[in-house]
Symmetry: C2
Subunit: 393 residues, 2 copies
């Protein structure tokens, strides 16, 4: 998985005190146009604050990322650490420091081992390769069970093929309220920053903002999109723009799905599809409330077709609905008709569906409206509690 | 624990197919003034819908309650079952059916075993006793580990002592958005319905609306308050009104605390106290968000002073705050000062606090405002997941 004009690296700097990669670098051969979406959490990590300033220039050459420490709630020392990381990378690459961005993920509130990181930067730069994405992907993982990357090619109307290539990390502290994790997207498209920003916002709203693992939102969430221009081609027509947007949506949606599949302790991926609402916003509220309900999520873990909890969650979503009109489906098995259970035969069939690793939970509010929304979630398992009870120890 | 003018009973009707009490009855010797607060969930159980109509008369003689079945999402048959329950009680007591209320708790969506229940009513009525509260309390339990009741006496200015006596059930599907469980309060005060309603609303907002177990809201939640008047005394002065309100607040707060202590799988009671917010509403949003965060709750289960998660939850509460100003305390141990950790010594002391069964989590936003709020929560344990994965099986 490669994107023309970009190189990647990932090494073990020793931040985690484990023999695991924990420092990554993504470099564009040329100053790329850049757009980013940052966490809406009021508590923002130092790298987020620094990037918010720097990304305003619209240009970026490199992004350095570490796992094992979120560099959040670390005060002035944290900002100094973020600056030191970008400075070390700029010096090793011989580029302007202002064109280097930084991302961190891991424990909040622990001091950054700055010298450990800057000491590893020369080796990191030496490890850069066009096919180094797998190393980079590995270096940003925390509780993730697997690395996540995705690629799409788009054929523009002038015959040029451009690439959208991305990698992401995220398994917990995930909630559909904004870009909710770290994600690095690069493309060889020629594009200006404004166009990139617009397309990235749309794609993030269609992908990462539609997933939830535990309803919590990280202090470090960032999605970066860099367009290096190596293809020599830009978006000239509406068809080009649509095609590229679709590719970007697809890449981010694929990563979002992977994140929920990899949700901490998750054993099941549940696609909550709400329709028949008075508006899309209403449908979204119902989908979000059901997707975040601990009781619904534990029932999925228990493979229990406990549709009463789904009704109860829908009922507290703050949306105008008539309980007597609601239909609920597990895949194509109708479990609830007009707000009432469909009986033992439906229960039996639904139990079969619930054994699957991926389940579609359909909720039709039948209000007469056409509002619809889909949110991806996972089950809440014993393993989730174990992982999060002992995260720092 | 008794209240003059009231009798209680609880029997095993066989609703649960277990040798456990599952049908209860509370009767006032005279038509009592009655007030009630019902769930705000759009999905309301049949007994809630029936009671909402009947309570409008302001008078009540009896409340029949069952566990093992919520009589929710049960359609016309559910309403017929609720009516049949009140009719059987009215006939056995020889009173007007319209003066009988009904409450149900248990699984949603299962058909009510109406004949099993009505068949048990004569025996239930025979079991009525002034000191029958413990039997009633037992009959309404579901996943509760213990029965919950509380009593206060208030001395009015004319020298009369009146009693406020209550029992409640609730351990899961609990969220501070309204009265969130079943609660039956009786008093021998002479009072009109309007006064009762006002005092009950205030007390519920100060007690049950300040607790959370899992952020889910039941379809059956109801708090009933009956004033039978056996004391012969009413509230004549402001001091009387304040005294009675205080007793009512105390009784409901004691029950609310018991509910969180008994939270499904809970090993710890956590009192989240937020202050220094720009308004009480802001403080409440921060307290609610922290109290409902799965990551914060699992960290308490793990006895991990993971204050970064508390900062992150506060940051996503949608409230204007400056992370650099936030202080966090576990009991009297300061863990965070000006948004940063206080170091290993504080961690060590905090670890000691976290071993306790009851913990006060203090969050000072230091905005310069005086907004404050307290919410009670519990930890999220492996046992919670086990209980809720297998609830129906």
């Amino acid at each position: 998985m490669e994107c023309p004009g970009f190189q990647w690296a990932g090494v073990c700097a020793g931040i985690k005190n484990l023999k695991k990669k924990d420092l990554g670098l993504l470099v564009s051969d040329t100053p790329a146009a850049v757009a980013a979406v940052f966490t809406a959490n009021r508590v923002k990590a130092a790298p987020v604050l620094l990037d918010m300033e720097r990304v305003a220039s619209g240009r970026c050459r490199a992004i350095v990322a570490n796992s094992g420490n979120a560099n959040c709630c670390t005060g002035d020392a944290g900002m100094a650490a973020a600056l030191a990381m970008t400075k070390a990378v700029a010096e090793a690459l011989g580029i302007d420091e202002a064109l280097v961005l930084v991302a961190s993920t891991g424990v909040i509130g622990a001091p950054m081992p700055t010298e450990t990181i800057t000491g590893a930067v020369p080796g990191l730069v030496k490890a850069l390769r066009p096919d180094g994405l797998p190393d980079f992907s590995e270096s940003i993982l925390t509780t993730d069970r697997f690395a996540k990357s995705a690629l799409r090619n788009v054929r523009l109307e002038n015959g040029t093929t451009v690439t959208v290539c991305a990698t992401a990390k995220g398994a917990g502290m995930i909630r559909p309220d904004m870009a909710t994790m770290l994600c690095f997207v690069c493309t060889d498209l020629q594009a200006d920053t404004d166009a990139l920003s617009g397309m990235l916002s749309v794609a993030v709203d269609r992908s990462f903002n539609r997933i939830t693992v535990d309803g919590d939102t990280s202090t470090n969430d960032t999605v970066f999109l860099m367009a290096g221009g190596a293809s020599g081609a830009g978006l000239q027509t509406d068809a080009d723009r649509q095609g590229f947007q679709q590719a970007l949506d697809d890449v981010l949606t694929e990563l979002a799905r992977m994140m929920v599949t990899d949700g901490e302790g998750a054993t099941k991926l549940v696609e909550v599809r709400v329709k028949g609402a008075k508006s899309d916003a209403d449908a979204r509220r119902v989908a979000d409330t059901v997707a975040n309900s601990s009781l619904v999520k534990t029932a999925f873990f228990g493979q229990d077709a406990n549709w009463g909890r789904i009704m109860a969650a829908a009922g507290r979503a703050g949306v105008d609905l008539s309980p007597d009109a609601v239909d609920i489906f597990f895949d194509d098995v109708q479990m609830v008709k007009n707000g009432m259970g469909c009986g033992p035969e439906a229960e039996r069939k639904a139990s079969g569906v619930l054994k699957q690793p991926t389940i579609c939970l359909g909720i039709d509010l039948n209000t007469g409206g056409t509002g619809a929304a889909t949110v991806l979630t996972c089950d809440l398992s014993i393993e989730y509690v174990k992982i999060n009870a002992d995260y720092r120890t």
